[in-house]
Symmetry: T
């Protein structure tokens, strides 16, 4: 017996559900590595990037919630448990311990680039099955691309 019913046919629900579940893991992981960098950053640009990282975390947490509730709205139970996030999260992140500010900027550019690359695939995949989900993924992508630019702009000239 179905617990929460879906307003989509089965195939569409599966494709949209997968895209949302994968995005949920990316957003939760991003919020964790963003905080990790927020706490462990050292170097002359500490304060500026410390604050910037909190905006990444706030964005990622907000999208995690929206994306997970969208999955639930489609009758797909989202999975954001610690073990799931750890097992499936594949974006690069800061290493253990204190991290130099230039390294934080570099790793955030890379993590956001990879997140964006994966989102663009999901935008394409969900266009037909569910334009509502696609529209949400477009919004996530636009915001992450803006944040990627801001880290990239301060990552210059590159070493």
């Amino acid at each position: 017996m179905t617990v929460v019913k879906s307003t989509l046919p089965d195939d569409a629900r599966r494709i949209a559900g997968d895209a949302l579940q994968d995005t949920l893991v990316d957003m939760l992981g991003l919020s964790l590595i963003g905080k990790q960098a927020h706490w462990n950053i050292v170097g002359p640009r500490f304060r500026s990037i410390h604050l910037q990282l909190d905006e990444v975390v706030s964005t990622a947490r907000g999208f995690a919630d929206t994306v997970a509730e969208r999955a639930a709205a489609l009758g797909v139970a989202p999975d954001g448990r610690p073990e799931t996030v750890a097992a499936r999260f594949q974006l690069p992140g800061p290493k253990e311990g204190w991290v130099r500010d230039t390294d934080v900027v570099q790793v955030m550019v890379e993590a956001l680039e990879e997140a964006i690359r994966r989102l663009r695939e999901r935008i394409e995949a969900t266009e037909k099955p569910d334009p509502v989900t696609q529209d949400l993924l477009i919004a996530v992508t636009g915001e992450l691309e803006k944040q990627r630019w801001m880290f990239d702009a301060e990552n210059w000239p590159r070493d």
Copy 2:
């Protein structure tokens, strides 16, 4: 060469640092399982507990930040990366998929009770090495005990 210096002697810093790192993992894990339950809860009390869980998440996120920054302030690099949280988090949490409202209440009571039990040991351990850290752990415990009571009160009569 030390990156961030400590205002505590080495022994005290180690004890306080361990207490804070363990609390950080508990808080980050709690915020993830709180959201998991927030998204997956079903049953007639859905809305009331859905909202209540967001207060747990908000509390846990706030304390995670305070606790990690306290560690950093003592010269101890906090570790809140996804793999660390998954590996060290030991509180009970909701299973995968939709969860009945009564089960959510039960698991939150248990998770909070275990978190509190561990915190009380750390309050005792940090009293001498660092009363500032102890005072923070007392505040965390007081808030979690309040939230535990509210879940326990609505967990009655027990099945």
Copy 3:
């Protein structure tokens, strides 16, 4: 002589205008039955659902305004008069008099499901004629699907 000019060719304007006018009736009707249930609900879950219904009403009123002003912006005079709403509104709603809380949840699930089904047809119909209108209907659908899930989640286990 045209009163308010359109930025769309005639065919596109007609299709978008019809989709918006029909959505306007659904939203105004939804706001009225949402308030009806808000006032007449009885049962142990009174307070929780009483508050939840006000969010439906607030959402429906906001979308009614946006949708009607979008029609006007396309040079189509929107019609939201009492007799029009009564004549054309086709979503299920609460019966006269006091209504049991479980029945309110059931009827809201059904009303929202039917509204969503009709909106998805309009999303398809407006894609080519006017992507601006389509984008608005996608936003309406996403929000109603979220609210439908929340009623559905608390409608479980079903009798």
Copy 4:
């Protein structure tokens, strides 16, 4: 078996209940025709009256809620369903389609005048049965008379 009990004797409850139910229909109808005019008004005074009409709508919606909850508080189930509003609403309103600004002002003066005339009868009828209900109707009347004046003042010199 009574669902919601009344704090008034039967006769008083019937008189107060009728006055409140009739006022509810007037307020819901007024909010619908106010919005209709808000969307369809054309002419050089568009912006000024467009904004003024939203104050009428906001007032009417607020009073509809207060009046319906007062009925419920007296044990009388209020009826604000679309078909009820359409069947019983008797105030004049704007015709279909775009409406000239001068005509909007005229129709609002007339609609408010008729609403006030009916309210003054209900103030008299409810004085003895329920001074609490009477006090609410006095407040509604005072506010509508203020809004009527403002439309009347800009309706001058009359054609």
Copy 5:
């Protein structure tokens, strides 16, 4: 020698003063039993009613202040000391210790009903002596009747 002079003749002042003093005791007592229930409630509806009770307390405290200052404004010294409240307060309230949620709802319906019954007598008594005091008591009654309805509506079906 009079301390604070009155703007009312002696008889009117005495009647209005008595009505206000009695209402003061009811409001202070209501705020105390509302908090008592807020703290001691247990059962699955804990959170919803816990929050609802705080609205009763907030209402009762606000009216206690308004009513006492109205007495003072009439030259009548209000008495809200603990011993006075305890001696004169006659509304039903929760028993000592934890209270089941259904019992809280029942006792609040009864307490509010009794408070309303007494207020309606005072509305009648103060009409001639002081319409200003009467108007205040009408406002108190209207608000308490609204709160009574909301508890009564969730008290159904009755056991």
Copy 6:
């Protein structure tokens, strides 16, 4: 030809209109003498009474606006021009120049007492002709009586 039409018959309009016009003069005059005292007070209680007087002024200005707009709503053109206020204002007020704090308190008690005495006559006069106007005058009286008490309470022991 009537400029702004009235919702009252002629006799009622005249009585209500007179009561409102007289109250308008009292409120405007009160706001002027309140500010006069606010600026010219001297003595050890300067700051406390300086602030208290601004509350009188704010109250009087607010009521002047409400009362004048109520007159306009009844089709009676209100008159608050400087020469009208000066010619008809009859409440006692502070003399020219600096005024001792104790004298300010005394004159405010007297001005408010006289304003209240006149308002109570108008409450009686307007009861039948227009309960909406009466309700407004009751509200004005209640607020002025509260402010009178606060000046009277600090006017003790009297010299």
Copy 7:
């Protein structure tokens, strides 16, 4: 014996005091005639000018307070009593009763022009005696000139 001492020599205090006292009368009178027009305006531009006049009143009241407190700060007791305002106020204002919107605009242009002309004389007179007072009068003039322009701009084409 001096009540409030001055930080200016006698001559300077007298010149600054006179400029401030005259400005006080202008501002209080302006606030009264602004409200008079706000209440009595009729015509198609009622709402727009009704709101604009409240900004004049708010400005005039604010400056009255600042100007009077500046006089007091210089040891000059300001005089804003009703009889003083009526006797000394010389700006043009609206006649008794309802006033056509075009006439309101015309009279406000004239009143503000006259107020500005008088202020410019005082700016010159106070430059040497007290640059602090001059600076305040410059601020008053700038704001009134802005408001004069806005009435003048809507007073075109002139009849």
Copy 8:
């Protein structure tokens, strides 16, 4: 069968529970006598102390809530019913009727001193059994000592 479970062993819970219950009575009583004085104070310092007393009341109400919820969190049902407060409250308070401002200050100093004396005993008693409760009592004491000082400072020179 236990209703709300405790996170403390029995002995510790009893000691902490007693300290919290006694503090609850002190805070509720303090809020009642603070309001009593707020309403009944007369004398030239009326306004200043009237406002100051509301801060005492607000503080006492806030602490009553925190203290009672702390008791509940420890599995101890708090008792704040009118009869309990009246029976167990032992701080000095104002006598019946109007009270001179100097007497109010004196009685507040005494009431707060006694409350503080009792709190300091409880701080000592709870140190070992429950540092979380102790920390809360320390916060209450600090705030009351601040308020005591402010009354004491204005109680000088003493008669």
Copy 9:
């Protein structure tokens, strides 16, 4: 060497970049001509349209920022320098000096219509290359169409 890297392939980046750069010029130009009209408008509708124009300016400024940052996020350096705006801006605007209110309305209708026509071409052009950019242009179009309607509605009956 690339300064800010792009997440799009070269062709897509060029098309999206051109669409964004052209929209940036339109938005900056629109904000300048909107302010020009805001300052130079004369005529009886001065105030209403003066305020309405500030909403156009605020909208245009907000979109200019969003559009330019979107270009930067795609690795395209946006150009909004004065000489660029002047050279490339092609929407109609107000002539030099004072402008009659009816002419302002007419020119705003025309400027917005032209801006919308150009945006609809860009919506089509960007659909495949970058749905994120397309989504932003859809939002800009929807808002400008709403503002065009409001000017058009008050531009009736046309001369």
Copy 10:
């Protein structure tokens, strides 16, 4: 025939008008180059200066509005059209494309220095003709000098 009349004689109006028109061009140009730099800056100080530039833009926009409305208030039609700004703007600004952070700081110091130099000439020129305009230009200068200092302070040590 004059459209908006002036409160200044012709000579004074011309001098003040020229000073205001030139300042308007400087402020509009400054707001455009500030945004240009805000979007195109790259380098490690990106975020800090990106935010700082928005304060320049906000300041420049605010002063542009105040200065243009001051001109209008003096009967001088301000000119802020794109072609006027481009033709008359003479402050240095960033070149096309991405700009290194150190270059942004340098160009902002230079642009602000030139703007200040020109403003100081206008302060002198307007002293006699119109002290109200002079006072406004003094305020503009003070704020720009503060912003110049902050860029200059971070422009050190200079290369």
Copy 11:
């Protein structure tokens, strides 16, 4: 080599810089003695003056910041170190320990009078060298004169 360049010639910068540095010391000293009195005041007017002093402190701190940043903007490094304030501060202040309320008022009148006397000299000195600095000193003087009046007004009748 100059660190922060000045927009003033050397002579003007020296005069303006001295005036600002001296004002900085007065403002910092005033904020310290204001707080000293705020903490140590005793007597029946404790609360009223305790609050009033915080307004002096807040004013003084705000002006200290504005004045110091103005010096920096002129290329003059401000000096507000503890030893500088102590060495150069010459206004009268409260003695050590508790201070009677009447003595606080007296000392504040004297301190403010002396500060104003010195400011008026600086207003004169800076008029030619830097009207921007002069304008700031005029604003400081106006505010201090207002605060001086309020202390002086409550310092009456003098002993």
Copy 12:
């Protein structure tokens, strides 16, 4: 004769009073040197550290107030006069004139470290005499340690 009585025995009061007085001097001094650095800092990190220093100042001012009022609450008159601060303040601070950003960071780390070292001694000294004072000093220490870490983190790699 005692002015403000203490709730502590003499010995405890003396120890707590000394700890608070010394902390007061540290906090006032810290607020002065924080502002000194805020005004005089130069270098590429100017803006970021300029803002960070204002948080130090705000923290130090807040704690100065809390600490001084705590002393007063214990019957100990706090001493924060300029000469006292200058004589007893022993933390390192910035030298006269412009200071390089790297030097500011270094001096703030040192000043905060010394302040923390002294506070930890006082935490130990006050534990027995007054746990309320100790709790306040623990809070001060925790906050200063957090701020020290943030300066230390941006002070790396050290020269």
